[in-house]
């Protein structure tokens, strides 16, 4: 375990330092999803359920290729489907995007979580929920700009994609990556994946008539451990509502930042102030004086 704990660089609701803080690390891991070569086969969905031993849930048919409207507490990987008409030439595009936890470098879920050790970020960048420490408050749901954490209504514990941290720590790639038949999923270091994604986007721009092709690695959350290649990086919304400029909600930042600081100063200051007031002025009157006005026995 000592090696595993050393790999922890952020812990939710934690007082003091964390074991992996300030340790050296050569790379963070990253999943690359090339939406331009995804055929929506959902092999990754099945592989995710298989590896993580999640039950087959009921699907919701809506006359499209959509399996269900959104991820669930026990369904962490979902292809989002959208029929998009291109403005340029009126042609139809079938957009498929594999949706799961983005493993943000600055995770809003972790920032919002009050439970010590319920959410941790490893030094390799993986953000993982520790359900044993989860208290079921749902603050992570509020902190996440991607609508990913989902609560088990029965146990009140929150779940999401682990980026197969158990596989990655053994030197394997995540289950979804292994299952992809078109090779649209890649796994490696963040630098390698950014390089690969950049080359693919360049290819799309120069040879495939997608002048707006680009890489989705939103800076608002410090970059993500899951990046996309999009045909049109200027309109991420058309890919199943991928937010254009995701960031941790400013109210969450204000709550966990200045409000916390101000509140603590005010509470401690108030206690000290009242104590000093009592030392200086004391009680308004003694009870004895009330019983015997004037102090006569």
């Amino acid at each position: 375990m000592s090696q595993a704990t050393l790999r922890v660089q952020k812990i939710s609701g934690h007082a003091g330092s964390v074991p992996g803080e300030d340790t050296q690390r050569e790379y963070t891991v990253c999943k690359l999803i090339d939406t331009t070569t995804c055929i929506g086969c959902k092999a990754c969905e099945v592989a995710c359920m298989e590896w993580n031993d999640l039950p087959f849930g009921e699907t919701v048919f809506d006359n499209t290729y959509q399996t269900m409207p959104e991820t669930r507490w026990n369904y962490w990987n979902l292809i989002l489907f959208n029929e998009h008409v291109r403005e340029e030439d009126g042609s139809l595009m079938w957009l498929m995007r594999k949706n799961q936890c983005m493993h943000c470098a600055e995770p809003g879920c972790l920032a919002a979580c009050p439970a010590d050790g319920a959410i941790i970020q490893y030094t390799n960048g993986i953000v993982d929920f520790q359900q044993a420490n989860c208290i079921g408050c749902g603050y992570c749901i509020t902190g996440c700009p991607f609508d990913i954490p989902k609560m088990n209504p029965k146990t009140h514990r929150v779940f999401k994609c682990t980026l197969c941290t158990d596989r990655v720590s053994e030197g394997l790639e995540p289950a979804c990556i292994k299952s992809c038949p078109t090779g649209c999923l890649h796994f490696g270091t963040k630098d390698d994946m950014l390089d690969l994604a950049g080359k693919r986007a360049k290819q799309l721009r120069e040879h495939s008539h997608f002048p707006n092709a680009g890489v989705y690695d939103p800076p608002g959350v410090g970059g993500t451990g899951v990046i996309y290649v999009l045909h049109d990086a200027t309109k991420p919304e058309i890919y199943g509502g991928l937010p254009k400029d995701p960031h941790v909600p400013w109210t969450v930042k204000l709550w966990k930042g200045p409000l916390k600081w101000l509140g603590n100063v005010a509470m401690v200051g108030g206690l000290i102030g009242l104590f000093v007031h009592y030392l200086r002025y004391g009680p308004k009157a003694r009870e004895e004086e009330d019983i015997n006005p004037g102090g006569k026995p």
Binding site: I135, I141, L254, L259, D290
Partner: protein, 220 residues
């Protein structure tokens, strides 16, 4: 308030009827639990408080229910006291002289009624905070059922709930300080119900005049 059958010791007058005392203590016990568990969720340094109180998941489960009890008690206070908490000209003068009040020069204060202006501020502060805490607390109780396109409700709730709670902590600290330490006799009054005539004359002369004028057989 003076219709109780309770036996009042000589030289004392009834200040809080049993119903008022009960309501106060229901609110107080609920508030102390809410404060303890709320502070545990507020700061990692105080997370151990929730552990002592049966574990953080239990605290998370019971905090909203304690909130409902607290709100019910505050609502009962509103029903009982709202007419007595109206702002008057005496209160305006009281706020102008508040520096004398805070430095124990009570003889320089305008004659307060049953509640002085500070107590009225405390009441309305707690009342409106309780309303805000209830509204945002319901959102925080069931965040997973707030649809994605209404997520702003969660965003404002995580900010307003702790802000309103902090405001009540300020009110609470002053309330406990005044009731337990500064005004000797006040703490007993919310337990036993009565205060000495000297207490009534010193802190609430307007109220004392009122109850003496009301009673058919003048008290000594």
């Amino acid at each position: 308030m003076s219709t109780s059958e309770q036996i009042i010791p000589h030289g004392h007058v009834l200040r809080y009827a049993l119903k008022e005392r009960l309501t106060h203590w229901v609110a107080a016990v609920a508030y102390l639990y809410l404060l303890a568990t709320g502070l545990a969720f507020w700061s990692p340094w105080l997370f151990w408080v929730a552990v002592i109180l049966g574990g953080a998941p239990v605290s998370r489960m019971l905090h909203p229910w304690a909130g409902l009890i607290f709100f019910a008690a505050v609502w009962n206070m509103y029903v009982m006291w709202a007419p007595q908490m109206k702002h008057t000209d005496v209160d305006k003068a009281w706020w102008k002289a508040v520096r004398y009040y805070s430095t124990n020069q009570d003889d320089k204060m305008p004659p307060a009624g049953r509640y002085n202006a500070g107590q009225k501020f405390l009441f309305w502060g707690f009342f409106w905070s309780a309303v805000a805490l209830l509204a945002t607390g319901v959102v925080l109780w069931f965040p997973e059922y707030i649809p994605w396109n209404l997520r702003f409700l969660r965003y404002i709730s995580v900010l307003i709930h702790p802000a309103a709670a902090l405001f009540t902590v300020g009110l609470f600290l002053i309330h406990v300080y005044m009731g337990v330490f500064a005004e000797r006799g006040a703490f007993g009054s919310v337990i036993r119900g009565d205060v000495s005539i000297a207490f009534a004359k010193r802190y609430h002369p307007g109220w004392y005049k009122e109850i003496v004028g009301q009673s058919s057989t003048p008290r000594k």
